[in-house]
């Protein structure tokens, strides 16, 4: 039996590898954005791509997000497969009209004759001490837009597999990268990349019997930590990593909740109008007779993203998650 030496790699490295492999495999894949060329991106995700594939395939664009996405639409119309980098969550907003009115609708408005196979990579969420406009959990804007797939990895292996899947998809994908996990490591062998993950499938990250934490992206490691801590309270928590918000994997989520009977949705996005409301409603509609308690949400407060010195009060943390688990009407069982 041979053992494979598994090196710890960062999520950032896995993303770079995914871009490189996609560009090597398909000459129609073009990377474009601000500072993605010579610099390799402000997070270095596109490091080395311009050198390896040339500036025509990894292009420093003018600094204008609507223009970047708008020209990417035209490139996709002509058969290319653009991968656009938005520098930060809040800097993607100027491109919103192009995203909503064209990227999301082009296939539909042309009855499938003009699909747009393009990927929009957006570093999102907080926890890195970023100043104003660098930490938004912006996913709800995208999940509210039919025609987009919305994907977000939480592990190094998923970062690779899901980005490959996003680039290979014939539909536009908003690929949300939890920027505070860029430097996270887990066991992933860059020499033997993980298989391309299908978009739309959630995964059970941790099995448990007491309750289900439904989460995604930057909140997955927090939930894993909470699940560990919960053992001391006698709770055996299951953690479901959604990976894809659109399409939504009702099957995996509901199977888990039917097993455990209790659920908490955890995300950084604000609670009002955030994905948690939709998820809680879906779970309630589908699993009502299995539920021992209302589905609770642990979300960011409904406030503009706080300044860095206050963000720890805003972000869902282990204690807030455990408090929510404690409110899942356990007394009914005794």
């Amino acid at each position: 039996m041979t053992t494979v030496a598994v090196k710890p790699a960062t999520m950032a490295q896995a993303l770079t590898r995914a871009l490189r492999d996609a560009m090597a495999a398909d000459p129609s894949v073009h990377v474009m954005g601000e500072d993605v060329g010579t610099l390799g991106g402000v997070f270095r995700i596109t490091d080395g791509l311009a050198k390896e594939f040339g500036e025509d395939r990894c292009t420093d664009t003018p600094l204008a997000e609507a223009g970047i996405l708008g020209t990417a639409v035209g490139m996709a119309m002509y058969g290319l497969r653009p991968v656009v980098e938005m520098q930060f969550d809040a800097f993607a907003y100027p491109a919103f009209e192009q995203l909503v009115s064209h990227v999301a609708k082009m296939r539909n408005r042309t009855r499938g004759r003009m699909p747009l196979p393009l990927t929009v990579r957006i570093p999102y969420g907080g926890g890195i001490g970023g100043v104003e406009h660098h930490s938004d959990a912006s996913e709800a804007y995208y999940t509210a837009t039919p025609g987009l797939h919305v994907v977000t990895p939480a592990t190094v292996a998923d970062a690779y597999g899901l980005l490959r899947a996003a680039i290979a998809s014939d539909d536009p994908v908003v690929f949300l990268e939890p920027k505070r996990l860029y430097w996270s490591k887990d066991s992933w062998n860059p020499e033997e990349p993980a298989p391309v993950e299908p978009i739309g499938r959630a995964v059970v990250r941790r099995s448990g019997r007491s309750a289900t934490l439904i989460t995604y992206g930057p909140s997955v490691p927090v939930c894993m930590e909470a699940a560990e801590a919960a053992r001391a309270e006698g709770w055996d928590l299951e953690v479901v990593d959604l990976r894809s918000l659109v399409p939504f994997d009702d099957e995996t989520v509901c199977a888990s909740v039917r097993r455990t009977g209790r659920a908490v949705v955890v995300h950084e996005s604000g609670g009002f109008g955030g994905p948690g409301g939709e998820i809680a409603a879906r779970v309630t509609e589908r699993c009502f007779h299995h539920l021992e308690a209302p589905v609770l949400r642990v979300a960011g407060f409904d406030v503009p993203y706080p300044p860095p010195m206050l963000e720890r009060h805003h972000l869902p943390g282990v204690d807030r998650i455990l408090d929510a688990v404690g409110r899942l009407q356990w007394e009914a069982e005794s």
Partner: protein
């Protein structure tokens, strides 16, 4: 002691990053809109081209009239007419080669039809049975774009992609005077110039953005002058002079095709009718102004030229009119048939494969329709 002497050896230098500027003179538009008809330049115009333009202009005007009539009959939800602007519409389509792409705005149905798109399919958006009725790849015509100026960066991206692939493709993108205030106009021109993309931007300055006149839209010397700020040539043309518009656009297309980069063309024209059938133009402009433009009508200008040069007689005029009537009759006949609608289409093209959520919703609508059909059957 002078100030210079006090400084001693120190001599001021320009900022280190400063470069001598590009000479803007070659990029500047002419002082007056370029004209051909009624000038000496008309003598050099190709008679065949002028006849073709005339036939298309007459057909275009008839199309506008027919489409407007169809709104009154409830066959179209809305129609933004380009009456008075036919020269721009027709020339934009005729200057392109087979492999080139046209990026129209919502007022450019005529250009779309002149490019070869089926006249009925071109009206799908405004009839309301779907959004884009034609296959954009068939005639290389992008969907009619309603959000202003958003189609311009698409044209730039497509032209850029074609050039990267080594294909000989020029994109011509159309926008109105109001659209030049949008951010996407600015970004598209900037990207096009930086990338030297083979794109021609045609601004039809028809005087109004719905009700707002140009004076409230811009303080620029002219819209064509905006080109200079991006480092591309700006051209100013009489938008009602079909021969002039054709010549200026053809020059710009040739320049783009040869690798010379983008051009901004401002065509001065006038929206003779209201913004759409739902608009009331008497609230913001007087009849006298409209009348002066009717005196500068694109069809009349061309007809005068052709007649003066003996290229058109009464029979020719009548033949063009007959052609247009045939087209209008056919359009009427097609539009008077109810379009085939399939409610399941709502779910068919949102994604390559419907999501599980859409499959559920499709099943719901299907069940609702079945129940509806059953109750209708029971009532009979």
């Amino acid at each position: 002691m002078t100030v210079m002497e006090q400084r001693g050896a120190y001599r001021p230098t320009p900022p280190p990053a400063w470069q001598p500027r590009t000479d803007p003179a070659p990029l500047l538009p002419d002082a007056e809109p370029y004209r051909v008809l009624g000038t000496e330049a008309a003598g050099e115009a190709d008679p065949e081209l002028l006849r073709r333009l005339y036939a298309e202009l007459v057909k275009g005007r008839r199309y506008n009239a027919q489409a407007t009539a169809l709104t009154k009959q409830g066959r179209l939800a809305v129609y933004p007419s380009s009456t008075g602007q036919e020269a721009c519409e027709v020339a934009a389509a005729l200057v392109l080669q087979e492999q080139d792409w046209l990026f129209p705005s919502y007022r450019d149905t005529l250009a779309v039809v002149a490019r070869g798109v089926d006249p009925v399919e071109a009206l799908t958006l405004l009839r309301g049975d779907w959004h884009t009725g034609y296959d954009p790849h068939e005639h290389r015509v992008a969907p009619l774009s309603t959000p202003l100026a958003t189609q311009l960066p698409h044209a730039v991206g497509l032209a850029h992609a074609a050039r990267l692939k080594g294909d000989d493709v020029v994109a011509l993108a159309m926008v109105g005077d109001g659209g030049t205030s949008e951010g996407d106009f600015h970004e598209a021109l900037n990207f096009a110039a930086v990338w030297q993309a083979p794109v021609v931007f045609l601004v039809q300055n028809n005087g109004f953005a719905i009700s707002v006149p140009l004076a409230k839209q811009t303080a620029a010397p002219s819209l064509a002058h905006k080109a200079v700020g991006y480092g591309m040539p700006g051209r100013l043309v009489d938008g009602n002079d079909a021969a002039a518009v054709h010549e200026v656009l053809a020059d710009a297309v040739r320049h783009a095709r040869a690798g010379g980069g983008p051009t901004l063309v401002e065509a001065i024209t006038y929206r003779v009718e209201a913004h759409t059938n739902a608009d009331d133009a008497t609230r913001y402009r007087g009849d006298a102004e409209v009348e002066t433009w009717r005196q500068h009508d694109p069809i009349a200008l061309l007809e005068r030229e052709l007649t003066a040069r003996g290229l058109l007689d009464e029979d020719g005029v009548e033949a063009a009119r007959q052609d247009a009537e045939t087209m209008a009759a056919s359009l009427r006949a097609h539009m008077n048939q109810d379009p085939a609608l399939d409610p399941m289409d709502l779910f068919a093209h949102v994604y390559a494969e419907p999501t599980p959520q859409l499959l559920e919703q499709r099943a719901q609508l299907r069940a609702e329709l079945a129940a509806e059909a059953e109750s209708e059957g029971a009532q009979r």
